[in-house]
Symmetry: C2
DNA sequence: TAGTCTAACTTTGAAATTCAAAGTACTTTT
DNA sequence: AAAAGTACTTTGAATTTCAAAGTTAGACTA
């Protein structure tokens, strides 16, 4: 019981990053605009949190054109899935007696 | 689905406050020293997070003497329980497809 | 009775985080 | 040529977080 909270990953203590990762755990690839709408964010705010997840290598990026428009999509890496899953396990453990 | 993350309570995005509230959801009264040890915190850090939860009226304080020593204990208020429970519901909803 | 200890804080200051707002680059549509 | 769409980046300021040191008050100790 001594240090469960230390198993919680700092990368996921923020709402936005939690939201992004949740989306990416369920859906293989999610594009920028969808994330933005789902999470009700401005471009800048979304982009900055995406960047930090990328820097942690928790998500991958794919850039393509659909029709004539650019489409940037994201997916959780194996490392990201593991980290997020571990984080949720720690959360669950912390809260198991709710 | 549009704004689940907005239901997450800012008061609980921090590890320490999450930890404190978890303890207080399970145990009626928990004293300062126990919290400190359970959560592996310094006095100051614990005290400051407790203060913010108090200011939100999420926890109550009880000061007494046991033997000849002061003993300060904390419990979750009704308001605190509700807020925390709502927060966990939002978390669950966000993560339900894990 | 002067000094030390324990419990529970408070204060201070600096680092880290978060965010809104504005700006950028490239392309398509009108 | 101008406006709009997509996906950012930059800037600066507010907020949050934390470690470290200082404080208070009573209790015990020499």
């Amino acid at each position: 019981m001594k240090k469960i909270i230390n198993k919680l990953n700092k990368a996921f203590d923020n709402k936005v990053r939690l939201g992004i990762m949740s989306m990416l755990m369920v859906n293989d690839w999610v594009d920028f605009k969808t994330l933005k709408e789902m999470l009700d964010l401005t471009d800048g705010r979304l982009a900055s949190h995406i960047k930090s997840l990328e820097e942690n290598e928790f998500i991958d990026v794919k850039k393509e054109f659909v029709g004539r428009k650019p489409l940037t999509s994201y997916s959780a890496t194996k490392k990201g899935r593991k980290a997020f899953s571990d984080h949720l396990d720690a959360l669950e453990e912390l809260l198991k007696n709710r």
